[in-house]
């Protein structure tokens, strides 16, 4: 990963010379929908229909239509919740952490990654509500003064999670919105009619004056600095939902860093999955080069090593602890009822990413796309393994059981991908999906006097 200062012209685009070339290429995406986009959008609308139908059916019939039954009270819904929260993380990594580190390859992808964060947290946030069954009581999660003088138990990791996820959603949405303001202003200045009115409202009358840029730059840095520890805390808190209990297979101190690495791993893979078609549909080859894909692939490889190391150390510690329930939990993972889920996870997250060691693979966009899909599948199964295999065999053999996801659960899980896609596709058409102003920052500025760059530098 090339980490350095945001040097002028650090990222040269062979087809982009002038500042307004960026406007031309990015704003073009907002005007031409194209057949590919409409086909994908149609699919997503149908999928959202499936999602809502399944959910309404569960609300109508009750939580019994899911496969959740003692001893497995957490199943596909919690698995998918953790999956989507994890997906969100790399968006903040790319937009905030790599911003603070001044990684010069982030500019082209960060807007799409950040949108992914917002929509993934939005999707994730639905799952606890789906999971609790009686969704009309969801407001009980929020501490509010009620007639019974009852407050949530602030010592519970589940309440921490409510605070972590809602804070994460709010902060990432605000961060995302703030970053789009100057770009929406750019869209406003080129648009006509209804769109112009809409963009005028969204951009809040931004004009790019010195005073606006001055405070904007500082505010952006502080938001990035706040989002950085936030993103690390959110998946740590999610991991404590498990690690704070005494269930064998969950009760481990390694969980927080292990979950955070897994989150970034799955999230970067999801960015690749989303950006490859985006690049194709909108013809953004000049902005999303092999350099970007190479950097993302390296990030995937690095986090895959951490995740695989965590798997191995979990198995080792289970053996080393000498605890029978702990040893059984991990033996059961590899060779028990759900052996197929564990081996899918190991192959997709541990073995497939090994291919990323080769430069030829990292530079082949079709190969990266396929590998990223494997990682997405593997990371979903990782959460499934953690949630389900740990619960179905706890301490007492008479209380063991087998969980089978019902068709309603699977429909909601599959539907959530379309729900996410629905918002993401709308985003690519309504807001500039590539950060216009940040790309301009890394283009060489136009100079009248050829040698004046040193003179300007001297000021």
């Amino acid at each position: 990963m090339a980490v350095g200062t945001t040097e002028r012209g650090a990222l040269t685009h062979p087809d982009v010379h002038r500042l307004d070339d960026v406007n031309r290429d990015v704003l073009k995406m907002l005007t031409v929908p194209g057949k590919g986009w409409w086909m994908l959008f149609g699919m997503c609308v149908a999928g959202v229909g499936l999602f809502l139908t399944a959910w309404f059916w569960q609300i109508y019939k009750g939580i019994g239509v899911s496969g959740l039954m003692s001893p497995v009270g957490w199943g596909v819904y919690i698995t998918t919740f953790v999956f989507w929260v994890g997906i969100a993380h790399s968006g903040t990594l790319i937009s905030a952490i790599l911003f603070l580190f001044r990684a010069p390859w982030r500019q082209s992808i960060y807007r799409a990654a950040e949108a992914m964060t917002v929509f993934a947290v939005m999707t994730a946030g639905l799952f606890p509500l789906i999971h609790v069954g009686r969704v009309w009581h969801a407001y009980w999660l929020i501490p509010y003064p009620n007639s019974r003088f009852l407050w949530p138990n602030f010592k519970s990791p589940l309440v921490w999670d409510v605070f972590a996820v809602t804070t994460y959603f709010t902060v990432s949405a605000v961060f995302f919105y703030l970053g789009t303001i100057p770009d929406v202003a750019a869209a406003r200045d080129r648009a006509t009619g209804l769109r112009r009115k809409l963009y005028s409202v969204i951009s809040l009358g931004w004009q790019g004056t010195d005073r606006q840029w001055h405070h904007f730059g500082k505010a952006y840095i502080f938001l990035a600095a706040l989002a950085t520890p936030l993103v690390l805390s959110v998946h740590s808190v999610v991991s404590w939902d498990f690690a704070m209990s005494i269930v064998p297979g969950w009760h481990a101190t390694i969980f927080a860093p292990y979950f955070v690495a897994g989150a970034i791993f799955s999230g970067v893979a999801m960015v690749i999955t989303l950006v490859v078609p985006l690049r194709k549909i909108f013809g953004l080859e000049a902005y999303l080069t092999t350099k970007h894909f190479d950097a993302m692939a390296k990030l995937c490889l690095f986090t895959s090593l951490i995740v695989f190391y965590a798997y191995l150390s979990e198995f080792f510690l289970a053996w080393y602890s000498g605890e029978d329930p702990e040893r059984h939990a991990f033996w059961n993972r590899l060779f028990g009822t759900y052996w197929w889920a564990t081996w899918t996870m190991l192959v997709c997250n541990g073995f497939v990413p090994v291919m990323l060691w080769f430069k030829r693979v990292r530079h082949s966009i079709p190969a990266l796309f396929v590998i990223s899909i494997f990682i997405n599948i593997g990371m979903w199964f990782e959460r499934y393994v953690i949630v389900v295999t740990s619960l179905h065999n706890e301490y007492e053999p008479f209380a063991w059981g087998v969980y089978r996801p019902s068709i309603v659960e699977m429909s909601i899980m599959v539907g959530s991908f379309f729900w996410f896609g629905f918002w993401f596709l709308l985003f690519t058409r309504l807001l500039p999906p590539i950060a216009i102003q940040e790309l301009k920052e890394v283009l060489p500025p136009p100079m009248r006097k050829k040698k004046s760059s040193e003179a300007a530098e001297a000021h």
Binding site: R18, F149, W151, N153, F154, K155, W160, P182, R188
Partner: protein, 171 residues
């Protein structure tokens, strides 16, 4: 309040910076610059220091910290329940909530600070404004009238602007 002024659009960054510096030398103080991206040479020429946004961030974050700590403790004391053998006010168990609220309040205060300081939302946009400022041009606006206006025009013209326009812009 709007006064008479003059707006120059420039194609080049160095022309813009030179125009600002020459205007400053000639004693013009009320200069407004436009740019398609944050340009620190322009900020430098205008003599900006530290942005007070950071005070908003700090105050917001500390408000979040104290609010969350007070709230978790107060609700625990109001109806004391021993959970998991922990003390009623278990500070380590409240840290995640305290942390999240610090970040939330800090982030929201930063955005409010930004809006207040940069006067957003700007419901009354400037009358003289070039839509090219969000594309690829730089702009310099100076408020002046009479002979001062002519003097500013001369300085701005020396840097070969694409366009010069007179009119009023909101300060």
């Amino acid at each position: 309040m709007s006064a008479q002024g003059i707006l120059a659009s420039y194609e080049y960054l160095d022309s813009t910076v030179d125009a600002i510096e020459n205007l400053k030398k000639a004693g013009f103080d009320d200069i407004k610059a436009y740019a398609p991206y944050p340009e620190h040479h322009i900020e430098h020429a205008l003599g900006y220091g530290q942005s007070p946004v950071r005070v908003w961030t700090l105050v917001g974050a500390l408000t979040g910290t104290s609010t969350a700590f007070a709230f978790t403790s107060w609700t625990s004391v109001e109806w004391p329940l021993v959970v998991g053998g922990k003390p009623i006010i278990s500070i380590p168990a409240f840290i995640p909530i305290v942390f999240e609220m610090s970040v939330l309040f800090g982030a929201l205060a930063t955005v409010i600070g930004l809006f207040v300081l940069s006067k957003l939302p700007n419901v009354k946009p400037a009358v003289v404004y070039d839509p090219e400022f969000t594309a690829g041009r730089y702009g310099v606006y100076v408020e002046a009238d009479g002979s001062r206006l002519e003097e500013a025009r001369k300085i701005m013209n020396a840097e070969e602007p694409i366009e010069l326009r007179e009119g009023a812009a909101d300060a």
